[in-house]
Amino acid sequence: MAELADINARIDGLGEYCKKALAPQVAAVDLAHKVDSSVLKKTLLHFGPVAGVGWLLMQMGQAQAHPGMIKSAVIVVGLIAITISGIFILKELVKVLGQYSKRAAAMRKLAGEIKQLLVRFLDPSFTLEPYCAFPTKVYDSAGLFPSSYDRSNAQDRFVGTLGKTRFEAMKIATYRKVESKDSKGNTRTTYVPVFTGVLFQAEFNKNFASHTTVRTDSSEKFLGGLARTAQRLTSALSKKTLVELENPIFEAAFQVHSTNAIEARYILTPSFMERILALKQKRGAGIQIAFQNSTVIVGIPNSPENYERPFDLTNLDASAEGLMTELFEVLALVDELDLNNRLAKAS
């Protein structure tokens, strides 16, 4: 079973691995799908002037003062010259565009394969599925996102076991539909991001059956006790209880709701609250955590550019390093949440 220290050691050998195992594959695909535009260039060289002459003839014909057979003939010859040149040039252009399209598809496929090889380089048991995600009901039922959403995109499902903990992670972007009318009365639909970042799901190191959410709370920072009173009132109207914990720093930073207050405190021990605070410090404000059915789900927001960034094969080393950093940050969560500590988990 993989351990974090072993993985850290393997990352040191990443440069060598890229150079010896991956760069040759990129070079081979690059060579196999090289775009040959020499025929297009020759066609443009030969038929470009012909099209130019045809255009001139058409201009001359139109400039003729008196209509007649000569004028019409000149225009027709010009048109034929332009048409024939156009056909030949277009034919070669379509071929070259087709080559570019095949090259792009081959590079995209290779990028996906290389990402999987890099993941297996970390540990042979890890997998990365670029176009897969875990089921939407997992994060819908977790109640992680600050508001409801209308559309979601997910990718790069990363699965493995670190120590005793089985985990899954993926990138996700959720959006809320916003409709507005402009001055002419036309409806414009835009999609506003609700959450963009990484979702991490793992088996928790304790058994429990309830549902608890730990969400970032910025209202208490500004409104203090008023915010707390408002939270109590709104919680009274929902199925989940507001759970007030003993750590004042944790209380100011997060709002905890649960279907079972005892299990919420069972999960959120004083030491675990400290871990969550350290996680917030390290990963930034905006982290959301849900605990349900002995599973923990963590949402770590990051920028939309991070979500959309493609794996650039032309800069393999930097792309590989970027991917390793992202994967290592996911793996580090297992340690940061102490998920491998199973002392309190009966089988």
Binding site: K206, Y266, T269, A344
Partner: protein, 188 residues
């Protein structure tokens, strides 16, 4: 009665009703939390016979300790629901702590699968019990705040509600355990 007087009366009655309900809700929260503590104390006590049977196989000399543990369990089970939770909890916690400490001296017992499984179950229950105590304490603090703060303290005194005590660590538990003395007490 004039309309203004009716409105004032209505507002006062509403405020009274809300405060009364709030006090009742806090009182019930404590009862709920007590129920939670009881259920985990019972769950823990139910493990004791299996623990005693397993330890006896390897540590037959520890008769007094095991007898004391069984007696502590019986005392817990005989406690009524509104009895002294703190006392029940402390008694069994101390006995279990001693048994686990004693097991360190018996490598065969430590390696026994049944003992390991029981130890894991006990760890789990201790965690749940700790959470139940914290929930009880939180409920008591909220209740005490309502009983002592204006304006709910007026309704509380009308209903005869008084402060309740939270779970406290006894002075014996607060001291660092003397492991050598612990082994000496058990005759090993």
């Amino acid at each position: 009665m004039s309309i203004e007087a009716m409105v004032i009366f209505g507002v006062v009655a509403l405020a009274f009703g809300l405060m009364y309900n709030s006090l009742i809700s806090k009182k019930n929260e404590i009862e709920n939390a007590v129920g939670g503590v009881h259920s985990f104390l019972k769950k823990r006590a139910d493990l004791i016979p299996s623990l005693v049977a397993t330890v006896k196989q390897y540590a037959a000399h520890e008769t007094k300790l095991l007898t004391d543990l069984t007696a502590a369990r019986t005392a817990v089970q005989a406690q009524p629901k509104d009895g002294d939770l703190q006392q029940s909890d402390t008694m069994v916690s101390q006995m279990l702590g001693r048994v686990i400490a004693v097991a360190e001296a018996y490598p065969d017992l430590k390696a026994n699968q049944n003992f390991l499984s029981l130890q894991a179950s006990l760890n789990e229950i201790e965690g749940q019990l700790s959470a139940a105590r914290r929930t009880y304490n939180a409920a008591v603090v909220r209740y005490n705040t309502a009983v002592e703060s204006l304006p709910t303290n007026m309704i509380a005194s009308m209903l005869g509600y008084q402060r309740k005590s939270v779970f406290e660590v006894s002075s014996a538990e607060a001291q660092n355990p003397d492991v050598a003395k612990l082994f000496g007490q058990t005759g090993t």
